[in-house]
Symmetry: C2
Amino acid sequence: MTSPLAAKIAREYGTPAVVIDMDRVEANIARVQAACDAAGVANRPHIKTHKSPLLAKLQIAAGAKGITCQKIGEAEVMAEAGIDDILISYNLLGEEKMNRLGRLLESTDVTVAADNPVVIGDLPKAAALAGRPLGVVIECDTGRKRAGVETPAEAIELAKLVAASPGLSFKGFMLYPTEDGWPEAQKFFDTALAGVRLEGLEPTIVSTGGSPNMKNVGRLAGATEHRPGTYIYNDRMQVAAGVATFDDCALHVYATVVSRAGVDRGILDSGSKTLTSDPGGGIDGYGYILEHPEARIARFAEEHGFLDLAKCNERPKVGDVVRIVPNHVCVVVNMVDEVVMVRGQEIVGILPVAARGKLR
Amino acid sequence: MTSPLAAKIAREYGTPAVVIDMDRVEANIARVQAACDAAGVANRPHIKTHKSPLLAKLQIAAGAKGITCQKIGEAEVMAEAGIDDILISYNLLGEEKMNRLGRLLESTDVTVAADNPVVIGDLPKAAALAGRPLGVVIECDTGRKRAGVETPAEAIELAKLVAASPGLSFKGFMLYPTEDGWPEAQKFFDTALAGVRLEGLEPTIVSTGGSPNMKNVGRLAGATEHRPGTYIYNDRMQVAAGVATFDDCALHVYATVVSRAGVDRGILDSGSKTLTSDPGGGIDGYGYILEHPEARIARFAEEHGFLDLAKCNERPKVGDVVRIVPNHVCVVVNMVDEVVMVRGQEIVGILPVAARGKLR
């Protein structure tokens, strides 16, 4: 059961194909911008999801204040395309990074995150190279145990260190609360805010994050902006988090059934090299097949998606082309050099994933 | 505790860096070629591991008969570089694939695998486009429940179908036995062989696969060739399978510790976007850190590797650069556009991963 568009994509482009529906992309951009507007916080979308200057510009045109990048390499691609307000939400350190950050800062308004004195000790080198101040936000851990200081006291100390460092400018705080951790985040932030004010410092950026957190956007009193990423495409994780429906999922992997060697099983031409082994926070299987919702993508080899068809009433045949909603869309986008853009039943273009694979 | 080479790579190239030691690469190539020679089977290395024409040519110069690719896009890159004996070990079907396969076959000696009549029904289109015969091996499942017919009777029927199809030439059988499934694979093959001989068909390729299966190479009576892939770099899975030591691991991910927000934990600048979420067949953690073997890479965000340091006597500091042996090296190589080549303590070049991301 292959849809006419799937047949066209398989014939003209080939599978596996990573396909984005531009009508849905635009609707997702508009909906989340409206939600940020309604909540009274600026929108600073994380471009790690799409890695495309064109889509970043659509987000900015819709009202986003600027963008968030995770790596300098991503920021370089975005700055090259003319985007000028970039938060790099990551600890940067070392000579190679400072040289690149300095060059970037020469022409672009860049703010970086820091959670330790080693990073803050390196950042003045970039500011000196650029000959202008570098803004720094202090990353606060509010439950994820990832990066970020664990206590307001540490945040205050680092804010003072930034303010005392040549070429650095204290900009505020970056938080990424867990979905049910906003009351604790509020306490953390309030304490840190009171502390820096005692030092004569005033944050201008208080940034919260996460597309699943769109249900909490604006909930942190004092927040100035939010950093949602995945919302532009959505995926099974967003649906599981209750912030999107399958109709809001704008990206699908089109895959062909290439083998049906057993009654209850089949093989897709999309394995971990396309869909990735990302478990999606514990969702069952590695993707949701629109044409066969009872099918389970049970496991992967790099180029083989193992289909468990035991529960299917109708089973796909060899040659069928199916559409898959991935568990985690950001990691899928990073696997491909380009995505196919469609509107309705038409292929409207090929979009390079220009900032793909920027590890550094 | 950063080694001098790690410091140099971080300074001159930056982290994360995927680094290959060419002395070890060459030793691995030589060792496996010698093992194939000793076993009396040709070596047809799977290039999915390195995705580099330069390294494929080193394998051929060392004695490999040809190469194995998993996708047409990989074969196109290799053929463009002048490699002329290519097995595409995958079911190919559909108009887009047949057009490309036809063009490839015009100039290159290509053999493909098939495990069903739909695929065999399409392949004559490629042969017709190229104006010359296309060799086909029948893929046999001998325990992995991936692609491949489940019974010798099916294999015999498909061999007959190939032989009766215009432009197709029956070449033999492709097997990928499980590590302890060689006696069953022998039974399967013997029955299929007897069956095709009754039809007047004689295989010229009987191909077995897998680097972990190097301990079994030559064990299938009648095998003509073996398709090892991972051996050129090796990884934790190969070490776990007992076919390599950590000293044979030629590829390391060099990563920087960027955060140490808690006593028992830290963050590497390499997350799933570098090391991938590949579980490596159930190995504990997502990589082995040479400098801190007691550390555990417990989980990932895309750009964050979560270090559990609870069992470490000595704990890394922010700014330390560590070397990681990945769980599964093939999938890591696919994440990067290039790898850094070293010999001893010297950086000797940058090697493009020319066939990276060839999903189609």
